[in-house]
C-alpha cells in the first residue's frame, strides 16, 4: 500500500473515476439547478435565462420558513427514531448465527424493493378505520370501535421510519459485525450488566458510525415527498412536497429550483456542523 501522498497521475487514477462521477452526477446537475433558480419566471409561460433573485425573495417568508423548519425537524426525528431502533436491532442481529443473519438481511433488502407509493398505500390501509389494525384491537376487546389513525403525524412518522430502517441497518451492520466481542466480555467480567455494557461500551465505541448513520437517514428523509402526501395532513407537507407542486403542477421551475437549492445548502450546512461538532469532541 502507498502510505505517502499520491504523486503521479497513475497513483491518482483510483480517485479519478469517483471524482468524475461526482462531477457528472452531482456538480453539473446542481450547477444547472442554480442557473435555473436565478432564471426569470414568465407568468403564464415557462422561464427565460436571467439573473434575478426574486425566486429566493419569495422563499424568504414566515410561511416557507415554517415549512422548512418542519421538514428539518421531521427528518431529524425520523433519523433519531430509525437509528434508535436500528442500532440495538443490528447489534443483536450481528450476534445471531450466520444463516439467521443472512435471512434477516435478505428480508431487509427486499423491503428496499418496495416503492414509496406501495409503502404509503400499505400504511394508510394498515392505519385505516375500515381495514386497519384498530379492528384487531376491537376484536380482542381492547377498543370500543375501530378508529382511523391516518392521515396524522404518527402515521407519517411510522411510514418514514419504516422506509429509512433498512438503510440504517445496512449501514450499521458492517461496523457492528466487526465489533470485537472481547470488549463486551471485558466489561461483563468487570461487573457491568448487559444493558450497562451496551450503553457504556458498545454505543461509545460506535459513535462515528452512529453519527454517519444519523446523517444518512436524515438526508434520506429530507427528500421524501410522497409519504407526506399519502400519510400526512397538509400541515405535515414537507418542503419537498411544495417543490414538487411548483415543478410539476405550476411549471414554476425557477421557484422550485430556488427552494431545492436552499434545501440542499441547509442540509449540507447541518451535516457539516455535525461533523465539525463530532471532530471537536474527539480532539
Amino acid at each position: 500500500m502507498i502510505r505517502r501522498a499520491p504523486r503521479s497521475l497513475g497513483e491518482h487514477a483510483p480517485i479519478l473515476f469517483p471524482a468524475l462521477m461526482l462531477v457528472v452526477f452531482f456538480v453539473i446537475p446542481f450547477g444547472l439547478m442554480i442557473a435555473v433558480s436565478v432564471a426569470r419566471r414568465i407568468p403564464g409561460g415557462f422561464y427565460e435565462p436571467d439573473l434575478v433573485l426574486a425566486n429566493y425573495e419569495r422563499f424568504l417568508s414566515a410561511f416557507f420558513g415554517g415549512v422548512l423548519s418542519f421538514s428539518l425537524e421531521l427528518a431529524a426525528l425520523v433519523a433519531v427514531v430509525a437509528v434508535g431502533i436500528g442500532f440495538p436491532f443490528t447489534y443483536r442481529l450481528a450476534r445471531l448465527p450466520r444463516a439467521a443473519q443472512v435471512r434477516w438481511l435478505v428480508f431487509l433488502l427486499s423491503i428496499l424493493s418496495l416503492s414509496e407509493v406501495i409503502i404509503g398505500f400499505a400504511w394508510s390501509t394498515l392505519l385505516s378505520r375500515t381495514a386497519g389494525i384498530t379492528n384487531l384491537l376491537v376484536a380482542v376487546g381492547l377498543m370500543a370501535e375501530p378508529q382511523s389513525l391516518s392521515p396524522s403525524f404518527g402515521a407519517l412518522l411510522a411510514g418514514m421510519v419504516y422506509q429509512a430502517f433498512p438503510y440504517t441497518v445496512l449501514v450499521l451492520y458492517p461496523a457492528l459485525a466487526r465489533l470485537d466481542p472481547a470488549l463486551v466480555e471485558a466489561s461483563r467480567t468487570l461487573g457491568a450488566s448487559p444493558v450497562k455494557a451496551f450503553f457504556t461500551v458498545v454505543v461509545p465505541s460506535q459513535r462515528n458510525t452512529i453519527v454517519a448513520t444519523l446523517i444518512m437517514a436524515f438526508v434520506f428523509a429530507l427528500g421524501c415527498y410522497l409519504l407526506p402526501q399519502l400519510l400526512g395532513r397538509p400541515q405535515h407537507w414537507t418542503l419537498s412536497v411544495l417543490i414538487t407542486d411548483q415543478a410539476i403542477y405550476q411549471s414554476n421551475m425557477p421557484f422550485a429550483a430556488a427552494m431545492a437549492v436552499f434545501l440542499v445548502l441547509v442540509s449540507l450546512a447541518l451535516v457539516g456542523l455535525s461533523l465539525l461538532f463530532g471532530r471537536k469532541e474527539e480532539a
Partner: protein, 366 residues
C-alpha cells in the same frame, strides 16, 4: 360499424361535401408523388393511460376506416409538461404531435405564445355544433382550438355512510361532516374557488376582483376542518371513498358511475349549483405540416355520432348539444347533466396563477 348510424338529418349534404373537400385537400398534401390512402398519417396526442387506451381501441380505428388517414397516437403527460415540449419542439420546427388534446389552462398559455396554428372554420362544418363555451379563440377572433372532450367533477358520497344524496355543494361546509371529505389538493385542479363563488357569492363573476377572490378563500378556509384528505392521486381517494374511509368529496362523475355499476356503494350527485365542467380541446401545433389532415380529424371528432360514441365508450360528456346525439336518457345521465354547469375561470388560473397558488397553499397548509 356504428358510424353513419342514427344520423338522420344531422349530417347533411353540405357536411358530406365539405368532408369530401377536406379529403381532397388532404390528398393534395402528398403531392407530387401520388400517395395511397394508407400512407397518410396524423400524429394525435391524447392523455396517456385511460384516454389513450380508449381512443386507440374505440375511436382511432373508426376514423381510419372512415377517412383512410392512419393515426399515430402519442401519449401526452398530463399537466403542462406537454405544452412545454410542444413549445420547445416548435422552436426547432418540429411537431411531436400534429393535433393534441390540451387542457384549458394549457390552451390559454399556448395561445399567449401563439403556439397554435389558427384553424379554418370553413373546413370544420361540424364544429359549429360544439357548445360555444368549448370553442377557443385568439383575442382577434381566429379559431385556436375546438372542444375535444369534456367531463364533470361532482359531489360524490358513499351510499352506506350517506343514505340520502346531498343536494348542494354547501354540504361540504356542514360541521356534521367533520373529517369526512376528500378534495383535490391544487387550486388549479380542484376548482373549489369557482364552487365557492357559485354556492355562496352568486356565481363566478364574484371572482373578477381580488376582494372577491379573497372572500372565496376566506369561505374555503372554513371547510378545512372537514377535509380528511387533500388528494393529488385519484386512486387514493377512490379507494377510500369505496371503503367508506372518506365518505364524501369531489370526484369524476363518469368514474364514480362506473364504480357504482361495479357494485361499490358510491354515488355521484349533481348539486343544484351544477357540476364542475372541465374539458380538453383539440389544438394544432404551428410546426405541424399536416394541418389539412388535422382539420379532417377535428371535424370528424365533432360529429354527433362520434360524440355519442365517446360518451358510450370513453365516458366523456358530449361537446355538442345533447339533442343532436342519439344518446338515451340513461346514457346521457351517466356522463352529463342538463343543469347549468360551473365552468372554471381558466383565465384566472393563467393570469394570477402564482398568486392564487400561494394563497391556496397558505390556506390549506397554514
Amino acid at each position: 360499424m356504428k358510424i353513419g348510424a342514427g344520423v338522420g338529418s344531422g349530417l347533411g349534404r353540405r357536411a358530406v361535401l365539405a368532408g369530401a373537400g377536406g379529403l381532397a385537400a388532404a390528398a393534395a398534401v402528398g403531392f407530387p408523388s401520388i400517395v395511397r390512402a394508407q400512407s397518410k398519417s396524423l400524429k394525435v396526442g391524447v392523455y396517456g393511460g385511460y384516454f389513450k387506451d380508449s381512443f386507440d381501441k374505440h375511436i382511432f380505428p373508426e376514423f381510419t376506416k372512415a377517412t383512410g388517414i392512419a393515426v399515430e397516437a402519442v401519449a401526452e403527460p398530463t399537466g403542462e409538461a406537454w405544452l412545454i415540449q410542444l413549445e420547445q419542439a416548435a422552436r426547432a420546427k418540429q411537431a411531436p404531435a400534429d393535433v393534441s388534446m390540451m387542457s384549458q389552462v394549457a390552451m390559454l398559455k399556448g395561445m399567449a405564445a401563439e403556439l397554435w396554428a389558427p384553424l379554418d372554420p370553413a373546413r370544420l362544418p361540424n364544429a359549429t355544433k360544439v357548445k360555444p363555451a368549448l370553442i377557443n379563440k385568439y383575442p382577434d377572433g381566429r379559431l385556436s382550438g375546438v372542444g375535444a372532450v369534456s367531463w364533470y367533477i361532482t359531489l360524490v358520497t358513499n351510499t352506506k355512510s350517506y343514505p340520502q344524496a346531498p343536494e348542494s355543494w354547501a354540504t361540504l361546509w356542514d360541521p356534521a361532516n367533520k373529517d369526512k371529505l376528500g378534495l383535490l389538493a391544487l387550486v388549479s385542479n380542484s376548482f373549489l374557488l369557482d364552487v365557492t363563488a357559485a354556492t355562496f357569492f352568486g356565481g363566478s363573476k364574484h371572482l373578477d376582483s381580488e376582494q372577491g377572490q379573497l372572500d372565496c378563500f376566506k369561505k374555503l378556509a372554513e371547510l378545512k376542518k372537514n377535509v380528511k384528505l387533500w388528494y393529488r392521486d385519484e386512486a387514493q381517494f377512490e379507494a377510500a371513498l369505496k371503503s367508506g374511509e372518506i365518505p364524501m368529496g369531489q370526484y369524476y362523475h363518469d368514474v364514480t358511475g362506473l364504480a357504482a355499476a361495479d357494485g361499490h356503494p358510491v354515488r355521484s350527485t349533481f348539486p343544484k349549483e351544477g357540476g364542475i365542467l372541465d374539458s380538453g380541446s383539440w389544438a394544432v401545433s404551428k410546426a405541424s405540416k399536416a394541418g389539412d389532415l388535422a382539420h379532417v380529424f377535428i371535424d370528424y371528432m365533432c360529429q354527433p355520432q362520434i360524440q355519442a360514441l365517446l360518451s358510450r365508450k370513453v365516458g366523456t360528456s358530449p361537446t355538442i348539444d345533447r339533442s343532436a346525439t342519439d344518446l338515451t336518457d340513461k346514457e346521457f345521465a351517466a356522463v352529463s347533466s342538463d343543469l347549468t354547469p360551473i365552468v372554471p375561470r381558466y383565465d384566472l388560473y393563467v393570469s394570477k396563477a402564482d398568486w392564487l397558488n400561494q394563497k391556496w397553499t397558505e390556506m390549506i397548509v397554514g
